[in-house]
């Protein structure tokens, strides 16, 4: 399962433009939201009142169940949801594309007739994407801390909880990356990556939103939007450990299954 440096380098370069685009988008979203925090927090009383007048189901669906706009973390939990959606789509995108793009664009033949083993290819590709996702994560951490401190005014917040929330985003992305990867290997051919990635990202979000709207459901236990629910983390000061373990288990299983499937996979020919 050793890595090939040349594949890693090649894969890293192939993703570089994409990660720059995503990073800029994430930074822009974060900047946009945080820049209106001062005005939000000033009128927080009014806003909280207005929000309270919406039906609770509606608020729950948008992750604003019992959010207090006036606090830094309360406001951040709202931003967090948008970050989660973006990051889930990005990670799913990379997951679905990891081996399927080569097969669809028929470059798999190029790579696989080289003197490398399938696990080597997989490991190199996976590590390259992990390096790429680290760039995204660095951007998320830097913009979160940077923008919060720039716009928080005289308000204070618990930095430990913020770190916890951000750590959650790492596992969260790994979930979508690995699940996307294993699904792409279970289907015969991924015609286009984006619809799959959108479906997985939004699908998981909708599951969690429905769960919040209609109360407890078994389905919501499988979605990382629930596993890393900011309200729980902010209220309790720690992760919902059993649910986080579900995410971790899914990640481990997906990686193992992906290797198993990839090593046995028939690479479809040009048709």
């Amino acid at each position: 399962m050793t890595m090939s440096k040349n594949i890693f380098r090649h894969e890293f370069k192939m993703h570089l433009r994409s990660v720059i685009t995503w990073s800029v988008a994430i930074m822009a979203v974060a900047l946009l939201y945080f820049s209106i925090f001062p005005s939000f927090s000033q009128n927080a009383a009014l806003l909280n009142e207005t929000m309270a007048s919406f039906p609770p189901e509606f608020r729950a669906a948008f992750g604003m169940g019992d959010m207090d706009f006036s606090t830094v973390l309360g406001y951040f939990s709202f931003v967090y949801l948008f970050l989660q959606i973006l990051l889930s789509i990005q990670a799913s995108n990379y997951g679905f594309g990891l081996v399927s793009i080569e097969e669809r664009e028929l470059t798999a033949d190029f790579l696989m007739v080289k003197p490398v083993t399938r696990p080597q290819i997989m490991t190199s590709k996976l590590l390259a994407v992990l390096a790429i996702l680290s760039i995204t994560q660095a951007v998320v951490w830097a913009s979160t801390f940077g923008f919060i401190n720039a716009f928080k005014g005289d308000k204070t917040y618990n930095a430990g909880i913020l770190v916890l929330l951000l750590l959650g985003l790492i596992v969260f992305q790994l979930f979508f990356l690995t699940v996307g990867m294993v699904i792409s290997l279970l289907v015969k051919r991924v015609r286009s990556v984006t619809p799959y990635a959108m479906a997985l990202g939004f699908g998981m979000y909708v599951l969690s939103a429905f769960g919040a709207m209609f109360g407890e459901s078994k389905f919501e236990k499988i979605t990382p939007f629930k596993h890393f629910d900011p309200h729980y983390i902010i209220q309790n000061g720690h992760f919902d450990t059993p649910l986080v373990m579900v995410s971790v288990a899914v990640i481990i299983f997906s990686v193992a299954a992906s290797y198993w499937l990839y090593v046995r996979r028939d690479i479809p020919a040009v048709t």
Binding site: L106, P115, D266
Partner: protein, 290 residues
């Protein structure tokens, strides 16, 4: 030594037939032609050799080693040119070739420039901007730059103009003279005829004939054309005559059997012209497929 040896190699895609019980050997230094129409299983066979796909049953060895188990190691010495070439978007030719070369233990730079020169390939262009024929040239350089000992060519000439085809065949012959074994899959028989020593004919996933190319042509039919005044095709109605037809005032047919019998028949005529020739591989081949 057999460079390739297959034993009852079989591949099903689910229920769909790929190849069935394919067994043959390819000897060191030969150019082995692999002929069959589209969908007969030519690409499946090559993809099995390269462990791009896995056999349902049976096995194949290359250089005496199992081609799946020792695949990565064996591929150090294998070159592959697919019928259609596809490359990563946004790369320059030189970057792709260097990436390709980076997989091999040896330094491939010199050979890469040499081949690019022969193929008249501009290394600084982006691959996306290249014409189909030029992409194909990239494929050729890419498949040869590590000086493989065994070459798989899967319908390699599609998309090459006649001039480039000639260059390409020349290149393949030179590789062969250096001792490279070549497995050449094609449905264009004239090119197989020009290049190969032996051929295997595959039909609906099964090998139906393995033969020396000359034997294949000689042992079979003679192609005879006789022109004579007022000749009635029925005159040649005798055992061994096939596909008798009138053509431009002459009579044409294929003949298999004692050549003297047909010579005596011809000598009974006052002919204006006679030709007796080997059938082309195409004609032999059609016979197998009927």
């Amino acid at each position: 030594m057999s460079v390739i040896e297959t034993n009852n190699l079989t591949k099903y895609y689910g229920k769909a037939r790929g190849i069935v019980d394919v067994s043959f050997n390819v000897e060191e230094g030969e150019i082995f032609g692999f002929i069959g129409p589209n969908g007969a299983g030519k690409s499946t066979t090559i993809r099995l050799f390269l462990s791009l796909i896995y056999p349902s049953s049976g096995s194949a060895t290359i250089f005496g080693k199992d081609c799946i188990k020792y695949g990565p190691e064996l591929r150090q010495d294998i070159g592959y040119l697919p019928s259609d070439v596809f490359y990563y978007e946004g790369m320059k030719v030189i970057d792709l070739l260097k990436y390709s070369g980076s997989f091999y233990h040896k330094d491939t730079t010199q050979r890469m420039y040499e081949l690019a020169g022969i193929m008249e390939l501009d290394l600084n262009r982006r691959i996306d901007d290249l014409s189909y024929g030029n992409k194909k040239k990239v494929g050729i350089v890419q498949g040869l730059l590590h000086q493989p000992k065994l070459l798989f060519l899967d319908e390699p000439t599609a998309g090459l103009d006649p001039l480039m085809q000639r260059e390409f065949f020349q290149l393949i012959r030179e590789e062969n003279e250096r001792g490279v074994t070549i497995f050449f899959s094609s449905h264009i028989l004239s090119e197989v005829q020009r290049l190969c020593n032996r051929v295997g004919i595959i039909k609906e996933g099964r090998i139906i004939e393995i033969a020396d190319i000359h034997t294949l042509q000689q042992n079979n039919y003679k192609k005879i054309r006789v022109a004579a005044n007022g000749l009635d095709p029925a005159y040649f109605d005798m055992p061994g005559v096939n596909k008798l037809e009138r053509h431009n005032g002459a009579v044409r047919f294929f003949y298999k059997g004692n050549i003297n019998a047909v010579m005596q028949k011809i000598s009974g005529l006052t002919v204006s012209d006679v030709t007796i020739e080997e059938p082309t591989l195409e004609e032999v081949f059609m016979h197998y497929y009927e």
